[in-house]
Amino acid sequence: MSSRYVTVDGNEAAASVAHRLSEVIAIYPITPASPMGELSDEWSANGKANLWGQVPRIIEMQSEAGAAGAVHGSLQAGALTTTFTSSQGLLLMLPDMLKIAGELTPFVLHVAARSVATHALSIFCDHSDVMMARTTGFAELCSSTVQEAQDFAAISHAATLKARVPFLHFFDGFRTSHEVSRIVALEDEQLRAMIDEADIAAYRSRKLTPDAPVLRGTAQNPDAFFQAREACNGFYDAVPGHVQAAMDRFERLTGRAYRLYDYVGAPDAERVLVLMGSGSDAVRETVDYLVARGEKVGVVIVRLFRPFDVATFAKAVPASVKAIAVLDRTKEPGAVGEPLYQDVTTAFAEAGRAARIIGGRYGLSSKEFTPGMVKAVFDELKKPAPRNHFTVGINDDVTKRSLDYDASFDLEPPEVVRAVLYGLGSDGTVGSNKQTIKIIGQEANRYAQGFFVYDSKKSGAITVSHLRFGPKPIRSTYLVKSASFVACHYAPLLERHDVLESAAAGATFLLNTHHPPDQAFKYLPREVQEQVLSKKLKFFVIDAFKVAREVGLDRYISAVMQVCFFKLSGVLPMDEALEHIRHAVEKTYGKRGSEVIKRNFAAIDAALANLHEATVPTKLNGALPRPPVVPKEAPDFVQRVTAMMMAGKGDLLPVSAFPVDGTWPTGTTRWEKRAIALEIPRWDPSICIQCNKCSLICPHAAIRTQLVDPKSLGGAPKSFVTMDFKAKDFGNAPSGAGWKYALQVAPDDCTGCGLCVNVCPARDKANPRHKAIDMAAVEPLRDVERENWKFFAELPYVDRTAVGPELKASQFLEPLFEFSGACAGCGETPYIKLVTQLFGDRMLVANATGCTSIYGGNLPTTPWSKNQQGRGPAWANSLFEDNAEFGLGMRLAVEAQEQLARSLVTSLAPKLGDTLVRELLEANQDDEAGLAKQRGRVQALKEKLKGLDSAEAKRLLGLADALVKKSVWIIGGDGWAYDIGYGGLDHVLASGANVNILVLDTEVYSNTGGQASKATPIGAAAKFAAAGKAVGKKDLGLLAMSYGNVYVASVAMGAKDAQTLKAFREAEAYPGTSLIIAYSHCIAHGYDLEHGCEQQKLAVDSGVWPMYRFDPRRIAAGEAPLQLDSPTPKTKARDYMKNEGRFRMVALRDPKRYEDLVAANEEFSARRRAVYEQLAAVHVTNREKGH
């Protein structure tokens, strides 16, 4: 059979096999394994059948624990079943995995290996997750490449059916799961030949059926358990044989040969590395290189990690070996060594072999693993006393365990074309590069590899594409270090990143810039000019934004830049390349209609005409160097550590630079000036009505309002504008003069989303298009506003005790959540920011994993910050699934310490003075004035305690701050609250504990890419609900109300901000559990988020999103606890739905279904409204009043 090549990533390679060999697939999204589930869902939704002509049933569960349970049940009842997961997801599956293995059930679990969260979460790759599963009784088979991800998927499915032992098939997250590579496809006939129908029949014969009833899952006593546990031994003994037999069969079918432990290298090798996963390709590459230079080295690539086959492994290692280094991609603190090292050591001992064996760690959380590092390990083995338990790839300057390596060691063959392309997430760079890989991968004898690095920001994110093309399969599983082509698709990146770092001497440098070819050079930062000259780069320019704009593609420059890449790199003849690009455009956008294709074609044609070689002078022209990454007034830690990470040089930081326990300073986003907005708001005080709505809605706290004492205006820049404050609420300024009102934009922190301008109600009467704030091009405003902002940021905030309850006043409070990496126009962050303004200085936050934890806690810089007094939210993220419990725990700790402090105050009363003690213990801390007084008393207490020399006094000194009321907030998205964390959330709701739960409801899993949750509304298309969700949104609020003693609010800031504020204040003041469900518009809704507030209004006006407050305190007054804050619907759900892509997709795909779902949504909303109206009118009784 002739080989058919496909260009796919590891996830698709594995899923294509799993889908064809399964009947039931239960899944739950988790990075980086989500695409396997999504693809399976997509295939099934399109009617793609498995090998037996049946379309696999896909079911999205509420968590990985749920998916594992469903898998277990499906296996018991006899269906061929699979699932996909990673990291924490795998951990949630462990209990079921032990059962599935204990019951000897054929099953394959495909894992994209990812770090398990420890001192920090990481979405990137290591083997800590699969190592957690190594005691489950699952066989573990490891793929190292995209090709193997496909091949080993087939081998595991075949072997598990033979062996009855379940398999965990894994490959490296991102490096393999997301690497796009050309591989040989597995055909259906080949797969069919791999599977023995008799094995399936045997499996089915063991299923649970009332026709032949049996019982599984018994409880066993000491008399039976041990022997019964040992009864499975024979099956485990047979696994290696079954796997090798499957590999042999596979080789006969495909010609691709694999062994359980593949040895590559010199037959007489003296130094050998042992490892598994994608790193083994880099080792192979290095071994080939070293062997060709006469070195006696080799590598054993471990495929079957569990059960570990001692004899076969020992046989795989050449008899000549003298020293072995075992590389583990995981860390097991406290162990003798990491798992693979221990196994190899034991295996060698058991096999009676002798060699010096050392172990080391590499590649944690996708740390680069390069030939230079591999060589360092081989070199170490040469030493008379090589270091054991080393690390490689980092600089451990604390415990000195790291090996030195030569970062410049490069062995990539010259015939491989290497390219590095810098882009912005929103410009389509990665998408078109994936296409480029596919185009080249179609060619005969052309191998292609694409790997993509993203930063962690959701707005203005930078992407770096690393592409390789060559005549032989590409084994370089690391980033391109030396490129013959470097492109920068967004010129301002040159100011912040060392884009040309990877440019090889004589390389081509392509820049998207509006400067003409004869001018472009002089606008390059000095460092870039130096590199262009010293490396003798060929410099080309194109004004891609202009080209894209002129053909009507907005800022979508991907097609333009792709054409330039082909033109300049010469990977393919240009005519051929153009034909392929056009074809790819048709294929990609065909479903979008002819106009999209037409405009992309026009862009392709215009690209070549606008690409020019730039003039490069012979010497520097005096350009300024790059500005420092952070200003010199930044704190020391930010200068030393954060700045390095911001510049993309974090890899160079030594161990000593880092906190030992994952504790980081807050308030660091203010040092990261990203300057990503093309337009920023411009204020016209002459029509401003000082409503402060702009400040309230700003997702990034980048537009702020402040009352200013005229006395403070002394050093103000000339351009700094204020106006008289119109209201009398705040009396006079401390200087006695009337307050001035200032509105200021942070030009480098604004994302240009436009929400502020959209909510601004103040229009020029004669020209209503002009508002009190309008969006204006950032140039030439930037420099002026930078100065203004700098001045504004230093102004003192008004005294919190003077701030009243109204909405306007809330915006004079300092936001303690600023400049996050959230999407431009994010609907969640305005709520978080408001909470910090109201309660931030005494707030603890438990944050569920998700968007909130990423824009809230992903390095290098984080938005949670401190006020001018140094107080601010203390924030922590535990897990996705346990956040409610995590927050409850914080509350318990707060109360325990408060209780202890109070009892110490009481027992020390004679020494502290009765008045202070009484006031401390009886303090009313219901408002800011009360809180301020209590802080004063605590200060006085501390002063007194310092003068006391008793153990009790010392204890109290450390606990005194606990006497100031704390506010515990539990924050997360709907995926957490409605699905994975609901069990815990429910328990916390029932606890009565004084915590405030804020659910930022985007109605979809936003962070992992738009999978449906139980909060997804009727009629919305989402992943796993591609046809439009048919079931109504879960009524989380009503479930919480059923407890009767939980404060519940449903809010939509964009519809009625005053109600949001009222709910936040009431919830916080409520001395029990509070739940706020907040409508949050999201890019996953598919429209321009500058219209987010208009959509929120429509959601409320149509009854799709009810607003209410359920306050148990009202029961005591004989009132119904529920108050409906949204009016009787004024418009139809249809009017709301028609504006959002998530609903429009359904309409365009199936108009009839859309109409049905619109009607269903309207009926659902009306029915819910009817229930609420009745609840709001209900007559309640209470104990005291007895009615």
Binding site: T31, P32, S34, P35, E38, D41, E42, A45, N46, I123, F174, L424, G425, S426, G428, V430, G431, K434, F452, Y454, K458, A461, T463, G552, D554, Y556, Y589, K591, R592, G593, S594, E595, V596, R599, R763, P768, I854, S1006, N1007, T1008, G1009, G1010, A1021, A1022, K1023, F1024, A1026, I1083, A1084, G1086, Y1087, D1088, G1141, R1142, R1144, M1145, V1146, L1148, R1149, P1151
Partner: protein, 332 residues
């Protein structure tokens, strides 16, 4: 002898002159069948609006495609399987379905914005099986650099190109806003246009005085709108030989008769059908027949144009005198 109700419209022989004009009625296949059962002489599709198609495609491109591959965790936020009908496919498919469902002719309708769009969609509508094509010549001139002549020349150019592209008869639906409608009608006649529809009813912007928003509204027609049509039917039918259709303000049999007398050869009805259902066609057709019989007319052809500028007993009534007379009447 039975009265001859037949007429010719866009080169097609119709059993009688009354049929639904361009409207959303055609979106529902069942409604189309009911219209035919009620006696509709042909079916006119609503316009395929190039501007809308383009806007939808680009919006989807912007909102769905532009949000992909920008984050390590999410390669996109939407299911990629969705098979959107973003191009003209849904419209063309509807023509095919209607063709298969009814025996009467189906007339396509098109509003383009670019020369390429006019030609491409005209060709596709013909391929989908339309018996004739109505070009909805609605463009709002807001560019002070472009004079009236240039506007007309551009429209004539497009008509010429479309005529050269398709074989089916091509009609033109006009707005009343031309400096010299008779001259433009002559020019259209010279291009070989098979019929003119008087007039397009346009979405009009309305101002919300509270929110300062513009709302686009389209009210259903009422009989007062007929008068404008009567005048121009009367004038144009005496100045060109192109068949004319009346569109707008026809609700009762009397209106049909007036439109025909003024010079229409065909009468389109929309608002009346939307308000009172497809059976109104039967009512209007039967009413016309009865009236012709009672008034001893032989045929619709005999009636058509009998009261136009050329033939009416007092033609000055259609020209400026009309205004003078009214004012005099007012003073009296």
């Amino acid at each position: 002898m039975a009265v001859d109700l037949s007429t010719t419209w866009l080169g097609l022989t119709l059993e009688h002159p009354i049929f639904p004009g361009a409207s959303p009625l055609v979106d529902d296949l069942d409604m189309v069948r009911r219209l035919e059962d009620a006696g509709a002489a042909c079916i006119t599709m609503h316009s395929l609006f190039e501007e809308q198609l383009v806007a939808e495609q680009m919006a989807a491109h912007r909102h769905l495609d532009a949000w992909t591959e920008l984050n390590a965790e999410a390669q996109g936020w939407f299911p990629s399987t969705a098979d959107f009908a973003l191009g003209p496919d849904a419209y063309l498919e509807q023509i095919r379905k209607i063709k298969a469902a009814v025996k009467v002719p189906v007339i396509g309708s098109l509003n383009g914005t670019t020369p390429g769009g006019w030609l491409e969609y005209a060709r596709l509508i013909e391929q989908a099986g339309a018996s004739a094509l109505e070009l909805n010549l609605y463009a709002l001139p807001s560019d002070p650099q472009q004079d009236a002549h240039a506007v007309e020349q551009e429209q004539l150019f497009i008509i010429r190109k479309v005529k050269a592209t398709v074989k089916i008869p091509v009609g033109v639906k006009l707005s009343p806003f031309y400096s010299s409608l008779p001259h433009f009608a002559r020019s259209l006649e010279a291009e070989g246009v098979a019929g003119l529809v008087l007039f397009n009813r346009l979405y009009q912007p309305d101002i919300d005085t509270e929110t300062l928003a513009l709302n686009r509204v389209l009210h259903l027609s009422d009989p007062s709108e007929l008068l404008l049509r009567l005048r121009w039917l009367a004038i144009l039918s005496s100045r060109t030989k192109v068949p004319l259709a009346c569109s707008g303000g026809v609700h009762e049999t009397e209106h049909v008769i007036k439109a025909l007398m003024a010079g229409a050869g065909a009468v389109q009805v929309v608002s009346e059908l939307l308000k009172n259902g497809p059976r109104r066609i039967t009512h209007l057709r039967d009413g016309l027949k009865l009236w012709l019989e009672e008034h001893e007319y032989d045929s619709v052809r005999q009636l058509s144009g009998s009261m136009n500028l050329e033939r009416s007993p007092d033609p000055s009534g259609y020209e400026r005198a009309n205004y003078v007379k009214l004012l005099q009447g007012y003073h009296r």
